[in-house]
Amino acid sequence: MIEAGRSEKNYWRDLWRYRELFYFLAWRDILVRYKQTVIGIGWALVRPFLTMLVFTFIFGRVAKLPAPGSIPYPLLVFAALLPWQFFSTAMAEASNSLIGNANLISKVYFPRLIVPAGSVITSFVDFLITLGLMAGMMIWYGFLPDWRLLTLPLFVALAFGSSFGAGLWLCALNVRYRDLRHIVPFIVQFGLYVSPVGFSSNIVPEGLRLIYGCNPMVGVIDGFRWALLRGQSPLSVPVLIASMIVTSVLCLSGVWYFRRTEKTFADII
């Protein structure tokens, strides 16, 4: 029994019923992304690898920024690139996901939340592949992680949450205001420089650290470095907590806004 007037209470049940659609949409996106490409899934490796080389060169060699402890600079950069790439592609893809699936939205019913969530999952697959590359590099440098590695899932979850939250906001806004299409690439580009990707967050002045932590990616990146690089890159707990709070606010408000505007998607997309 369905009440078309107020579908709120059935929503979360529907979401569960349509759980296979998550899988299929993500599967479709991955399949499509690498169809008719020569090196296929290899692109998931090439992109971060080249970025890492460039960053190591610019920040490590040219700007001569310090790396904490005995960490090789490429590892320092790559440990940050992992979550950053995940975050930026997930956010960018999620923000375009509704519009990219406009024909679905206007012709079929399913909980719309699946669409941006599916694109975050797609990016997560890329992330896992890059994680393999990270493992390879750590072996190459003979820099193996210790027990702190076990905390990594926490930071992965944090990255997941922040990209999902940001993606929800952006995609819901994007349906009505197509300006977002121009703003998102800018956010991604800008974010790369305000997040400690190419450098260690140590070089940020002490007094500004907490404010800096309001960028949720700061906590995530610091956490990744701490977990992967034997704790030689310091992790400040207040910064981590700030990032966690910002992430939860982003996520919850994202879901709230998405749910609020969702009903109108089919009409205005």
Binding site: M1, I2, E3, A4, G5, S7, Y18, E20, L21, Y23, F24, W27, R28, L31, V32, K35, Q36, N103, L104, I105, S106, K107, V108, Y109, F110, K263, A266, D267, I268
Partner: protein
């Protein structure tokens, strides 16, 4: 009542016209400038593209409203019992699709509510969610899951789907390389195997070749016999007559008739005729006050001069245009154009090109044209009546005319815009040298 599976109570859906207004401005800001400077012909087209033939009967469309509410659907109530096949008919813009969208939960009603009991499968478009890069096999899974099937179900039904669609050789070919017929067959086939309790379909029977259409019809009938409730929208009144035991006729977003198909279709056809009366369904462009000539009335007649809005394929159509001259105009060029319901420009007739014009037109009057036998396929058509100057440079007036139907049991838009008879030559092989046995079998009604 326990066997009522759909109960709609006072369903209403309101849209704000201003959205369309904004979008239009957004899209054409630059075009607008360009159009103002160049030929009015293009300007006319851009005006019509934004609100022309396919919406020709939406009320309030041309009120130039800044922020006006528009009820696509209002106070629609009905019950559907289990196993009923209900046909929803009505002109374009009558609210049929809006109703189906509400019932399939794509959009929410502004007021009222609907209770639906059972698993709903809705098919508002053939091949929703198909991805051109993926293979037939992959798309079956994708499309199936989008329509609400579980993976296990799809796997179970997979062979049936493939067999029904007749595409087994092409299962691993990307669907972008499929012919549109194959594409449509596959899409329908997936949807048909959903095993819903309630099936909502919008104009999807017009898929594939005639043989496949018949197969789909038979399949739908089989579904209906097995106790599934079906709600279908179709412009194909023959299909409605054949399938449904009940029709719901919508008009201007309201329920006009609910009952026996024969009667509903009758009312619908009679109404399409009446629609011709308030002729100015819309105008092309603005500044109607400055037009030197206006078309006050337009009539569709058959060859014998009786009013008609439904023509059979191959019939000749007479169009009588009544006009009022406000200021004398030089070399008027009366122009009548036919647009299909999906806004495809089909053909046009121009008086001046046919040598009918006059150096100075000063008095109001009537001009009539008779078309050659209409070879248009079965569909709904809109019309424009325009008065140009001889060179198609100045637009004296342009109005959107009434709609009409062309019907044929077989020929639909899959056959093209027109279906023309050809001359055929028939030769038998064998008998040594090739001899023409029977030549030029021509047919035609005139």
């Amino acid at each position: 009542m326990s066997d009522v599976v759909i109960r709609a109570e006072n369903l209403g859906k309101k849209y704000r016209i201003s959205h369309q207004h904004e979008r239009q401005r957004h899209v054409t800001l630059r075009d607008l400038l360009a159009d103002k400077l160049s030929s009015p012909k293009r300007w006319v087209e851009s005006q019509i593209a934004n609100g022309g033939a396919p919406h020709a009967s939406k009320p309030a469309r041309n009120t130039a409203s800044k922020r006006e509410d528009f009820w696509a659907l209002k106070d629609v109530s009905f019950d559907v019992k289990q196993g009923e096949v209900l046909g929803v008919i009505g002109r374009n813009g009558a609210g049929k699709s809006t109703l189906l969208k509400i019932l399939s939960r794509i959009t929410e009603p502004t007021e009222g509510r609907a209770r639906i009991r059972g698993r709903v499968a809705s098919l508002l478009e053939v091949g929703t969610g198909f991805h051109p890069e993926l293979t037939g096999r992959e798309n079956i899974y994708l499309n199936g899951s989008i329509l609400g099937m579980s993976r296990a179900e799809i796997r179970k039904k997979f062979d049936e789907i493939v067999a029904f669609a007749e595409i087994d050789q092409f299962l691993d070919t990307p669907v972008k390389r499929y012919s549109s017929g194959m594409y449509g067959r596959l899409a329908f086939s997936v949807a048909a195997h959903l095993e819903p309790e309630i099936l909502i379909v919008d104009e999807v029977l017009a898929v594939g070749d005639v043989a496949f259409q018949r197969k789909c019809m038979d399949y739908m009938k089989k579904l209906a016999r097995s106790g599934i409730t079906i709600l279908m929208v179709s412009h194909n009144l023959f299909a409605v007559k054949a399938m449904c035991r009940r029709v719901l006729l919508l008009s201007g977003g309201r329920r006009q008739y609910d009952g026996l198909p024969a009667e509903g279709i009758d009312i619908y056809e009679r109404d399409s005729r009446l629609e011709a009366d308030p002729w100015a369904v819309g105008v092309i462009g603005e500044d109607i006050d400055r037009w030197p000539i206006v078309i006050s009335f337009m009539e569709y007649l058959d060859a014998e001069g009786r009013p008609r809005t439904v023509y059979d394929y191959g019939e000749r159509m007479r169009v009588r245009i009544h006009y009022e001259v406000r200021r004398p105009i030089k070399y008027p060029n009366f122009y009548f154009a036919i647009r299909r319901s999906d806004n495809v420009a089909c053909c046009s007739f121009s008086a001046a090109r046919d040598g009918v014009t006059t150096p100075l037109l000063e008095e109001s009057g009537v001009i009539e044209l008779q078309t050659p036998p209409l070879r248009l396929v079965s569909d709904q058509y809109g019309s424009w009546a325009i008065v140009w100057d001889r060179e198609f440079k100045n637009l004296y007036c342009g109005q959107i005319g009434p709609n009409f139907h062309v019907r044929d049991e077989i020929l639909n838009s899959d056959f093209g815009v027109f279906h023309e008879p050809a001359e055929w030559n028939w030769r038998a092989k064998g008998a040594g040298n090739q001899v023409m046995l029977e030549s030029s079998v021509s047919y035609g009604k005139e």
